[in-house]
Amino acid sequence: MLNLGGDKFVLGSRRTRRSADMRLRLTSMIDMFTILLVFLLKSYSAEGQIITVTDDLRLPDSTAEKPPASSPVVIVTDRMILLDGEAVASIAEVERLQKTLTIRNLRNGLAEKKEISEALGRENEALGFKGIVTIQGDREIPFRILKKIMVTCGQAGYSNILLAVNQKE
């Protein structure tokens, strides 16, 4: 009993003495933080994201490096075609009308956007109509769908087409 108590006392005193001059070893944590910081600063962009992609849309991979511009966005999934988040046509419908190259709802929607941006352009030069449209297409969509969308954009006056892609290293 007495012996045990003595042991405990000795242990305790040793512990307190050790903690008095023990330091947290932070070197490895600082190493890690430094690496993280460098990596994050390198990948930092001040503009933020102009384009966000929904989960079910898999953009094609490309080596392109041009950053996206703000413009109307046509999203083409394997089921729907959307213009700035609003559904304008379904793929099944577009497939059914094999002969017609124009997607009417999409053209009307784009024409509206063109009018709005032209009206804005009369107020402020910088906001004017530039004819830029971004296409976010799933990597699996066939060219016959893409062709119709491009033709429709061209007819609506949007002749500068930007294709959104995943940037690969």
């Binding site: 001059d21 330091r23 932070l26 600082i30 933080f33 993280l36 910081l37 994050l40 600063l41 990948s43 930092y44 962009s45 933020g48 994201q49 384009i51 992609v53 953009l59 094609p60 991979d61 490309s62 080596t63 392109a64 490096e65 041009k66 950053p67 996206p68 511009a69 971004t134 297409g137 799933d138 990597r139 699996e140 969509i141 066939p142 060219f143 016959r144 893409l146 062709k147 491009m150 033709v151 954009c153 061209g154 002749s159 500068n160 087409i161 930007l162 294709l163 959104a164 892609v165 995943n166 940037q167």
Partner: protein, 152 residues
């Protein structure tokens, strides 16, 4: 010299630099940067519609007469290249895969023949997937043809 040695000895004893401000900085910066980090980078490929390409072609024709139109067809058998006064053998698929390396080599050969030409027209058939078209556009851009148009 003296000072250096003395600090060296001191740090050997465990009496080192005050890293608290550094840790504070890290603790603020790292969460902030992690929140704003983008892990999927999105870029864009520029594309000329055939209609606008045609008008720019006619404009350029007036400027210089030596305009060369290069056509690159993609179908379910592979790539075909149509270049004036140059015969390029079709590049067939290897199994299910398109042979992008051979396409790149052929494009380099064309670039060697017509170093001033930057325009190329891609003609895919209806069934070609978007990813394939983008891959071909990449091959064209990497081998000196940045002005790409697509025609159906």
């Amino acid at each position: 010299m003296n000072i250096k040695r003395s600090t060296g000895r001191a740090s050997g004893e465990g009496d080192d630099v005050n890293i608290t401000p550094v840790m504070n900085l890290f603790l603020v910066l790292i969460p902030f940067l992690l929140l704003t980090a983008e892990f999927v980078r999105i870029a864009v490929l520029e594309l000329n519609l055939p209609s606008t390409a045609q008008s720019s072609v006619s404009n350029k024709k007036e400027n210089d007469k030596k305009l060369i139109i290069i056509l690159l067809g993609i179908d379910d058998k592979g790539f075909t290249l149509k270049v004036p006064r140059l015969r390029i053998a079709p590049i067939p698929k290897k199994g299910e895969q398109f042979q992008y390396e051979k396409l790149a080599a052929a494009l380099k050969q064309i670039k060697g023949r017509y170093p001033d030409t930057e325009e190329i027209t891609i003609q895919p058939v209806d069934e070609i997937s978007y990813q394939t078209i983008v891959n071909v556009m990449d091959a064209c851009r990497d081998n000196g043809f940045p002005n790409i148009s697509i025609s159906g």
